[in-house]
Amino acid sequence: MPSNLKRIVKATIINVIVALIFGGIIVLAGDLVAGNKIATIVTLVNKMAVKTPELKQVELIFNKEAKKLDTYPLYGTKYGEIKIDSINLVAPVYLGDNNKILKLGVGHYSGSYFPGEGGSILYAAHNNSYFKKLPYVVVGDLITITTDYGTFNYKVYATDIIKETEEDKLPIDDKEEILMLYTCYPLTGIGHKSHRFVVYARLEED
């Protein structure tokens, strides 16, 4: 290698090494002075990062012996359909009951059981959309829930108007398969709706 080039390469390498050392000193100094604060801010920012999971349809497999689903749908996905002939209602059923879901269809409270599991199931919808005719459901009406893993028929045995705080009137347990549908009540008028109209239906065993 010509001596000029050797000198140039040597000078460049020395300068780069010195610059890296200087850079390291600056970083170290910065870390000593504000390292904890920066780490806290970075942790906070990363905690606020929201990775929206892709909503896939999960194949629902029902275990007839155990009377339980082996696989459950993802929150926010549609898994069935509800039909009430007496009020001409046909609507999709989604797992979850947030505002976004209630715009799309009937929401299944994720803390309740699924059709066929032998426990109580809680569905909600808005009184100005899918459940606007719910107060016209009467005792004896049939409700059908259709899913990929089966079709379930329920017969209405009671309706009630409860306060929004009376959660004990929407019991979630595994004593009996009861389907409860509810919506805000009254349907009209201005202001906050402090009551709920509830329909109670029992599973019709085939």
């Binding site: 001596s3 000029n4 000198r7 140039i8 040597k10 000078a11 460049t12 300068n15 780069v16 010195v18 610059a19 890296l20 200087f22 850079g23 000193i25 600056i26 970083v27 970075v42 920012v45 990363n46 606020m48 990062a49 929201v50 990775k51 505002n99 976004k100 209630l102 715009k103 808005h126 009184n127 100005n128 805000c184 009209t188 008028g189 201005i190 202001g191 906050h192 709706k193």
Partner: protein, 270 residues
């Protein structure tokens, strides 16, 4: 001894250069209202905010019965643009936000009156509560009202920083000039370029290093603060700053290497 002093001066020079670049960057980005407004236009901020607002109040308006009065017509994208610009103006100390909520409340109340739908006394009270909640929701989303305790001091901070930034840049500029002068005196032109090269290399390594560290350590792509609109705005501003830092860093590294090569060639000629 002369070499050691020169390297120390090169180190101090690189620190001053880093601070100068940061001050200049901050002064031309987040401290400038026009820059923030440009970025807001770039990312469809008003549209995203309008969508967020409509989603938030939609159910409330319908469930509370106010939809009969076509209240949703009041919440247009133009209104949001005007109010967001007022909010930005407040952050940069150009106006106050006092009338935004009261004007909105008055407009909603007028809408109810114009509808000629008669309400009972109880319904009037319910309507007033519903309107107050609606205005409060609007202010929380568009004006970040719920965080007024946290952001109240930002306008004052911006005034102070803006006042200090130019004198700080002048002082640092003078210090840089002094150091360059001392380096030139100590080394003549031979070594001056070499030590300046070291300073520029250090500057470049730090600037590029900041960008790399940020990309590796901070999940900027999925950042979510409060709502989609503000998250997008913060993301685009941070990306812009990082891009500028990276570009200046690469130029500095290139400049440092070029000066090092030239200084080495200078030695050869002597």
């Amino acid at each position: 001894m002369k070499k050691l002093v020169s390297y120390i001066l090169a180190f101090i020079l690189s620190v001053f250069l880093i601070v100068f670049i940061m001050l200049e960057l901050v002064g031309n980005t987040v401290l400038k209202k026009e820059y923030v407004l440009d970025k807001i236009e770039e990312i469809n901020y008003y549209e995203d905010m309008h969508q967020d607002l409509v989603t938030e109040i939609d159910d409330y308006v319908e469930q509370s019965g106010l939809d009969e009065f076509n209240i949703k017509e009041i919440f247009t994208e133009e209104r949001i643009k005007e109010d967001v610009n007022s909010f930005i103006g407040w952050v940069y100390n150009e106006n106050s936000l006092e009338n935004i909520k009261s004007d909105l409340k008055l407009e909603i109340e007028n809408k109810l009156e114009d509808s000629n739908i008669s309400l009972t006394q109880e319904e009037k009270k319910e309507a007033e509560d519903a309107i107050n909640n609606l205005v409060s929701n609007y202010a929380t989303i568009v004006l970040y009202d719920a965080f007024v305790g946290l952001i109240r001091d930002i306008p004052k901070l911006i005034i102070i920083v803006n006042k200090l930034i130019v004198p700080a840049k002048i002082v640092i500029g003078v210090c840089i000039g002094i150091i360059l002068g001392i380096l030139l005196l100590l080394n003549k032109f031979k070594g001056f370029l070499k030590y300046l090269g070291v300073a520029l290399l250090t500057l470049g390594i730090i600037l590029v290093g900041i960008k790399i560290w940020f990309n590796l350590g901070v999940d900027l792509a999925n950042l979510f603060i409060l709502n989609k609109a503000i998250s997008n705005l913060l993301r685009v501003i941070l990306n812009d700053i990082l891009k500028t830092l990276n570009f200046r860093g690469i130029i500095s590294i290139f400049g440092g290497i070029v000066l090092t090569i030239i200084s080495a060639c200078q030695f050869r000629n002597n």
